[in-house]
Symmetry: C2
Subunit: 108 residues, 2 copies
Amino acid sequence: MTESLQIQLKKGVLEMCVLALLSKGDNYAYDIASRMAEAVGMGEGTIYPLMRRMQNDGLVSTYLQESGSGPPRKYYKLTKSGANALKAQVSEWIVFETAVRKILGDAT
Amino acid sequence: MTESLQIQLKKGVLEMCVLALLSKGDNYAYDIASRMAEAVGMGEGTIYPLMRRMQNDGLVSTYLQESGSGPPRKYYKLTKSGANALKAQVSEWIVFETAVRKILGDAT
DNA sequence: AATGGTACCTTGCACGGCAAGGTACCATGT
DNA sequence: ACATGGTACCTTGCCGTGCAAGGTACCATT
């Protein structure tokens, strides 16, 4: 139950993190997943539904590109609306983080 | 979809916040809910299942106390194991927060 | 009697991460 | 030739948990 904290925490934040990664350059799901796995322990099975959702919401667009090693990669690119969403979510995150820090207060 | 971020963010963090509140003194669900509603927008319907879970997990114990105004209150008190859980969760939170900040990087 | 605040609680729903599994391509080793 | 292992895509079914909406009951005020 205690260990579910990490899992639950991720909800909602992953989309923002993916948007942030993409804001630094186009990328493909497998690589994003690897980075996120290292950073916050995201499972690979999580990325594909997430990318699909983001595409449906118009936050990213895609294009295929050969890789030379392995199957072709599907690159994701931030749209303008994705960039806006990133800004909005980052400021929400900061508000939230601040509120939590305030509650924790001296418990930190 | 964007506004669901706030909702999702709460998952996993609420337990830690409640533990933090209780570490400053015993309290009853209704009051905890009010404070959390103000701080992070938690709905009242969320607190009762949460408190029940925490009690089942042995993080809190309860006692009844008359209030003079309205029905008797069920006070929650942190157990030792609850205090330990708080410490653990706070350090997990800090790790997570740091990882997210690193990913956001200059997007902030 | 009726309203409104306090305080408890339940039910049904939706969202989204996870584990486990599956497909296919390519390079390397034996 | 074939097996192994890495890359890269994707799907399915499950589970935890916050939410909205609703329900009960006590008490004070109007």
